[in-house]
Symmetry: C2
Subunit: 348 residues, 2 copies
């Protein structure tokens, strides 16, 4: 089958490329007055709300491997992980700026694919693309997104405001994105050794989707709002449950006790991790990239929280002197340590 | 002389590194409610103003060469070029998020130096650092800044609103940053050939500063405000005068006529470019990185504009059918073409 010819980036020139990539950007939020095309976008936030702003950077070889991450998924994920930060403040995402730097080995079609994912996520999360930058690298690719959201002043939820006796809750399930990454890495090693082998990915749709196309949990903050529950503290799970628990506890000056058997792990995740000789709870605690919401809520929300299917109550906040502990299935206490971030240790 | 020992990034861990880099971030703008340290920064813009947002990305090997760009200057410049975008909308910069990705060959001290420049520029432009991301690359460095500013709704100046008969004005002088880059590239070539040679940079302070530590022209928009002049269209000169003139003219559906002898070029710039066999006007038209403001204003502002030292009136807007032309010193007309952006043509 003949593939259509691909177009080098140099053939379009700056104006042509930017026009092609931003042509589909529609401004749907009333707060988006003017989008890409001038020195800055113009936003209108004179309605008594607070503006939230957050930035994330994704680097080739660190955060994604183009050997197994389709560009469309990468674009989608880049937006979703930023939206997750706004939801984690109990806000609503409204606009993004997208800056990308790619080498000339990327083609116009490759960027089209990346932007297709970006626009899909913009639609999903009700976000307008209002600007950014498009440039080159000598090698590799880098994507930087800044997201802007809004929230009612009195409903913003920070990560350092958990209180003793609060319930600790988490949405969805954990460890699946990590399991997906392990699977993709394994299949890449197989392929590197034998280019005829077909990756064995068929029975792993769920965990692959969780790694390649994660969703930000605006549906969860929406459900909480509908149930009249205002979390006392909240953070999104990007670096693994341990790391985020410690963020909340250290920031709030409290301790915590989390029960191993309450930590939600999907059966597919558990079976794959076991196959790979990884303890599923380790995957949940240290794996990262789940983009679920970890939050605390007053004890008297227990009944209301119990009725929400997507939410698991996994423990409670303690006085600081009790430390941060996991209660294992056999009842022993294990201190929670952050193992998430080791970026600077693994390269060059 | 013994140098103090340098610290690998891996020695600090994520929390330690972020704490070290953001410790000096002071929030000085009333609109900065909460800065770095949560999922998102919180800003308050409920005062009837518009929010402006702009992003720029700087990539090692494309936008800067660490062989001759000190990291402190790089940090300063990264903020200044973003502030320039907000001034070019006739706004006031207020906050930035800063995302950086560096390889582990960078040390903690190197990032300290980069952030020193960032904080210096934040102070200079009255901007608060409110968030961002810190991550790694397999090689090279990438800096992405998003800047947020504010403006009165009725005083925002776009680039597509120039009108026929408007005056065309530019602040400061042009081509110096380009001359500085040529000089640095030449001295790097000399040094590559003979490591004992001392760079011959002594008499070129002005053009080197213009390349390494450009300033955003908030002073110019301030002067215009004081003189009760509201530009009809405005853009900052980042890609060279030609490219920016065409942005304004194409966007506004007009033509222009610019007089070569009115284009402001500093004598140091002119003499260096001549020494390098480059026509100084070519440097001004196509050089880029000047970060001066190019704007149009009603004809009846002529007298007021003439009294402002930093501003040169270089031409006027014509009907679109007259095209975009430079009137050379000998009176002939040369069509203005954009030669600025050729990023994708030069690498890999």
């Amino acid at each position: 089958m003949n593939k259509p010819p691909l177009t080098p980036l140099s053939s379009l020139g700056e104006f042509g490329l930017i026009d092609r990539l931003t042509r589909r950007a529609r401004l749907t939020n009333p707060s988006s007055c003017r989008g890409a095309g001038d020195d800055a976008a113009v936003l209108d936030y004179n309605n008594g709300k607070r503006v939230l702003v957050s930035s994330d950077m994704l680097v080739e070889g660190i955060h994604f491997d183009l050997a197994y991450v389709p560009l469309k998924h990468l674009g989608y994920k880049a937006v979703a992980v930023n939206a997750s930060d706004i939801y984690a403040m109990n806000g609503t995402p409204r606009q993004i700026t997208l800056s990308i730097a790619v080498s000339s080995r990327f083609t116009v079609e490759a960027l089209d694919e990346l932007y297709e994912g970006v626009y899909l996520a913009c639609e999903k999360y009700g976000v307008d693309l209002v600007g950014g930058d498009t440039t080159t690298t000598t090698s590799g690719a880098c994507i930087s997104i800044t997201i802007i959201g809004e929230a009612d002043k009195d409903r913003i939820v920070y990560r350092n405001t958990a209180r003793v006796r609060d319930l600790i809750c988490v949405s969805g399930d954990l460890g699946a994105a990590y399991a997906g990454l392990q699977l993709l890495e394994r299949e890449k090693r197989v392929l590197d050794g034998n280019s005829i082998a077909k990756p064995d990915l068929d029975n792993h749709h769920y965990i692959l989707r969780r790694q390649l196309k994660p969703e930000a949990r605006g549906d969860v903050t929406q459900r909480l709002r509908e149930a009249s529950i205002l979390p006392t503290a909240m953070i999104d799970v990007s670096d693994g449950l341990s790391s985020e628990l410690l963020h909340i506890c250290r920031g709030s000056g409290v301790g915590c006790r989390v029960h191993e058997e309450k930590i939600p792990v999907d059966p597919c995740t558990a079976s794959l991790l076991e196959e790979l000789n990884i303890n599923p709870i380790t995957g949940a605690l240290s794996g990262g990239e789940d983009y679920e919401l970890l939050f605390t809520a007053p004890l008297d929300n227990f009944d209301a929280l119990s009725t929400i299917e997507e939410i698991s109550i996994i423990g409670y906040i303690t006085p600081p002197e009790e430390g941060c502990h996991l209660v294992t299935r056999d009842g022993s206490l294990v201190e929670i340590k952050a193992l998430g971030w080791t970026n600077f240790k693994n390269n060059e």
